[in-house]
Every structure is written in structure tokens, then in C-alpha cells.
């Protein structure tokens, strides 16, 4: 066992070395002629406006939350899948209950339209931003 995961450990170290060597070679032979404009952030040729470290669409966080639930589910399924053939019907019933609860969760998220990338009804406070799908639907 320790020999198996020892190899993984050495593979990580070798990976670091393997990335470093070409970077060092490149550092030695590549031209280095830095100017202020070259080191600027790329923004289609314009001068960069402000920092990019800003607030971001909440959709990504919701996706992350849903992912977390289902990824834990997948992790639970792995040991079950290994012993499934030995246990047969009992395993099917037990995991069936577990999966059905999660399917109910999926259905809930679906109905609440948290799976939509562009939500149908978003309250923007009646400003100049209109929901994207307002013209095509409703």
C-alpha cells in the first residue's frame, strides 16, 4: 500500500520537476525585453479599466452548491457499487431509497428553476435591466 501511494507522491515531485525544467530552459534562452505596455493587462488593446477581482454572477455559486450535494452522492455510490453484485436485491432497495430522496431534491431544484442558467423571473427592481427571456417567453 505505502509503495503504491509512495509512487503517487514521487509522481507529484516528478511533475513539479518536469514543469520546472522547461520553464528554466525557456527562462535561459527566451528573449526578455519587458516594457510597461507588455506587462499591462490585456483588454483588447484599450487600457485596462479597473481590477477584474469583482463580484460575480450568483449562478456559479448555486451550481457549486448543487454540485456539492450530487458529488457527495456519487462518493457514497462508489462503495455501494463495489458490493452491489454480492448483496443483490437488498442493496438495490437500500440504494433505491437513497437515490429517490436525491431525485426528489433534483426535482425540487428543477421546479424552483435553479437549474436554468437564465432565470425566467428575476426581480431586478424595475431598473434598466430586463430579464433576458422576457421578450421570447411569457
Amino acid at each position: 500500500m505505502y509503495r503504491d501511494f509512495g509512487t503517487v507522491f514521487f509522481a507529484v515531485i516528478m511533475g513539479i520537476v518536469m514543469v520546472s525544467i522547461p520553464l528554466i530552459i525557456s527562462w535561459l534562452i527566451a528573449p526578455s525585453n519587458k516594457t510597461k505596455d507588455k506587462l499591462d493587462t490585456y483588454e483588447c488593446g484599450e487600457e485596462a479599466e479597473g481590477s477584474a477581482w469583482l463580484q460575480f454572477n450568483i449562478r456559479f455559486y448555486i451550481i457549486a452548491l448543487i454540485f456539492l450535494i450530487f458529488d457527495v452522492e456519487v462518493v457514497f455510490l462508489f462503495p455501494w457499487a463495489v458490493v452491489f453484485k454480492e448483496m443483490g436485491l437488498i442493496a438495490l432497495i437500500e440504494m433505491g431509497i437513497f437515490l429517490l430522496i436525491l431525485c426528489a431534491g433534483l426535482a425540487y431544484v428543477w421546479v424552483k428553476s435553479d437549474l436554468e442558467w437564465v432565470r425566467r423571473r428575476i426581480k431586478y427592481g424595475g431598473g434598466r435591466y430586463k430579464p433576458l427571456s422576457a421578450s421570447s417567453e411569457d
Binding site: F10, V19, S32, I63
Partner: protein, 358 residues
């Protein structure tokens, strides 16, 4: 497997010269070097293949030797080497407003994630660097390191395009990991093990013993896995994280030279990993399609590489055939089509196995 073999070989050869601990370390490092060599050669081959396949699909000739000068060798064979040299000679630029430590860390992480997946891939009956007892689980887990490095690259660049690309790639890879994982559950249910070699050994005896032909639900699982795998490697039609027509180059916008080359290399390495998992899990791994026909251990490598190569070819083929999806379509396909389909598949396979195998 291979580590033990090299260890015994070396201890027979160098008995008494070095302590057994350092000998063990050497025998762990040698296969890692071999894997790195393999990745490099494979990357050169597949870059050439990508250029040529895309050219033939688009009805042009692609890189060619141009008469007397022979710019890129015969049939453009030297093109990938020229590309690699060009990347090596490029000036390395780190934007002054970037988060420098994270910016440097990202290429390391993405390459290590791809590199350490390779050590659990079975190339033949005894050709596997470490035969981990949780092989397939390990590959899935290590594959997720790519998400971290892409979002790290996007964030550290301090560039709007990069941030968009990084966030999109995180959402996309993370979402498609679930259908891919659920589809591989089907394989594990049928084989009853997480060990890559045992999964392949379960499929011994001709094409109809391969897991993909085990019951009518498995081909669906294979298709779901393969499409999710393409999405996880950020290939067209799922290349939203680096869609060049909207995001310049996505998370890679600020990267140049060798640092960019490692993102590029890792994408191709990840293609190999997901294809090898598909070949080992569904298509019989190193088994020959006909029992007893070209079925020796040496031919095993041939079959494994060919099955994987075919799947990589399909990926390249899809890239040059299909247009890119939109973000909302991408998410819809994952959460509303693949996830329910994968769950139904698990139930289907479970019921089928209980009814017909007991």
C-alpha cells in the same frame, strides 16, 4: 506492479551497492520518467493528428513540406516540433497587476493533475505504474485538480476575460463530473471492483464480454460518460472556458510561452486519460476483440493504445464538426438530460442485474 518489477530487477543488478530504500525511490522515479516521455511523444503525435484531421475535414492539406525548402519536413511532420520550439523561445510575461504566486502555481497544478492520472492507467496486463486498489476512483479524484488550476489561472491573471473563462470552466467541469461519475458507477457495479486491472480482467473473452455489451443500459452510460468527458477536457463543442471568439482565450489569455504550453499539453494529456478510462471501463481495455486472436500481453498494449487512440480521434472529429454550445444550453444538457439519464441508467442496470444474474 511495474515498480515492484523494476525494484526486483535493480536489486538483482546492483545488489550491495545502494541501500534498498534509495533503490525503491529510483524504481519509483523511473516509471514516472517513462510516463513523461510518453506524454511528450503522445502530445507531438496528437497535435500533428489534430492539424491533419482538421485539415482533411475542412478540405485542405494542412501543414506540408513546401518544395525545395521543406519548411516543416515531409508532409509537415516537423510542425509539432516547430510549435514546441516556438513556445520554448517565447518571452515569458507575467502581467504586473496579476497575483504572481498563484499565476505561477496554476500551470504546475494543471500539469501535475494530468500527470499523476497517468500512473494508474493500465497499458497492458502488467504494464501499469501503480496498480492502485481504488484505481478508477483515484483517476476521477485526481482529474478534479484541473478545475482548481483553471479557476486559479482565471483569478490570478486579474483580467476580465480570464475571470470569465475560469468561472465558466469551474461551473462546466464541476457539473459534468457528476454524469461522468454516475456513468462509471455502472461499470463498477458490473465489475464489482475499483481496481483498473480487475475491471479489465472482468471483460475477458471477446467483444461480447466487454462491459459496453453487458446489457442494453450500458451503451447509454458510455455515451453519457464520453460526452461528459469531452466537456471535462474543455474541447469543442464544450470549449466555453476558452472560446476564442468571445473570451479571447479564456483563462489562458495572459499566459505566454512555456506556461501556456503546459495548459495546452495538459488538455491533450487529459484527453488521453479520459479516453483510456473509457477504453478500460467500457471497451475491454487491453483485451483483443476476438478471443485468442492477437491476445498476448504485448498485443495488449497495441489494443489499449488503439482503442484510446480511436476515442481521441472521435474527440478531434467532433471538434471540427460541431459548433460551440451556449452557456445555458451547456448547463441544460448536463443537469436536465445527462443527470436524469445517468440516474435512470443506474436503476436500469441494477434491476437488470438483479433480475437476470441471480
Amino acid at each position: 506492479m511495474t515498480v515492484d518489477f523494476i525494484f526486483e530487477f535493480l536489486s538483482g543488478l546492483l545488489d550491495g551497492f545502494i541501500s534498498s530504500n534509495s533503490l525503491l525511490i529510483i524504481s519509483m522515479l523511473v516509471p514516472c520518467l517513462a510516463i513523461f516521455g510518453f506524454i511528450t511523444v503522445y502530445a507531438l503525435v496528437v497535435i500533428y493528428a489534430e492539424l491533419k484531421v482538421s485539415s482533411f475535414i475542412q478540405d485542405k492539406v494542412g501543414p506540408m513540406g513546401q518544395g525545395v525548402g521543406l519548411h516543416a519536413g515531409k508532409w509537415g511532420l516537423l510542425q509539432p516540433i516547430a510549435d514546441a520550439l516556438k513556445l520554448l523561445l517565447k518571452e515569458d510575461i507575467i502581467p504586473s497587476s496579476a497575483d504572481k504566486p498563484l499565476f505561477i502555481l496554476a500551470p504546475f497544478m494543471i500539469f501535475i493533475g494530468a500527470f499523476i492520472s497517468f500512473i494508474a492507467i493500465p497499458f497492458g496486463e502488467s504494464i501499469i505504474v501503480t496498480d492502485l486498489n481504488i484505481g478508477i476512483f483515484y483517476i476521477l479524484g485526481v482529474g478534479s485538480i484541473a478545475v482548481l488550476s483553471l479557476i486559479l489561472a482565471g483569478w490570478a491573471s486579474n483580467n476580465k476575460w480570464s475571470l470569465y473563462g475560469g468561472m465558466r470552466s469551474a461551473a462546466q467541469i464541476v457539473s459534468y463530473e457528476i454524469p461522468a461519475g454516475l456513468s462509471l458507477i455502472v461499470v463498477i457495479m458490473l465489475a464489482g471492483t475499483l481496481n483498473m486491472q480487475d475491471i479489465i480482467k472482468y471483460q475477458a473473452g471477446g467483444i461480447f464480454n466487454w462491459i459496453i455489451f453487458d446489457n442494453p443500459f450500458v451503451p447509454i452510460a458510455f455515451v453519457v460518460y464520453f460526452i461528459s468527458a469531452i466537456a471535462e477536457t474543455n474541447r469543442t463543442p464544450f470549449d466555453l472556458p476558452e472560446s476564442e471568439s468571445e473570451l479571447v482565450a479564456g483563462f489562458a489569455t495572459e499566459y505566454s510561452g512555456m506556461r501556456y504550453a503546459f495548459f495546452f499539453l495538459s488538455e491533450y494529456a487529459n484527453m488521453f486519460v479520459v479516453s483510456a478510462v473509457a477504453a478500460a471501463g467500457f471497451l475491454g481495455g487491453w483485451h483483443s476483440p476476438i478471443q485468442g486472436f492477437m491476445d498476448s500481453p504485448a498485443w495488449g498494449v497495441f489494443w489499449m493504445i488503439n482503442k484510446t487512440g480511436f476515442l481521441i480521434f472521435v474527440m478531434i472529429w467532433l471538434r471540427w464538426t460541431l459548433p460551440r454550445l451556449r452557456v445555458d444550453q451547456l448547463m441544460n444538457v448536463c443537469w436536465k438530460v445527462f443527470l436524469p439519464l445517468a440516474l435512470i441508467n443506474i436503476f436500469g442496470v441494477a434491476i437488470w442485474t438483479v433480475v437476470f444474474n441471480s
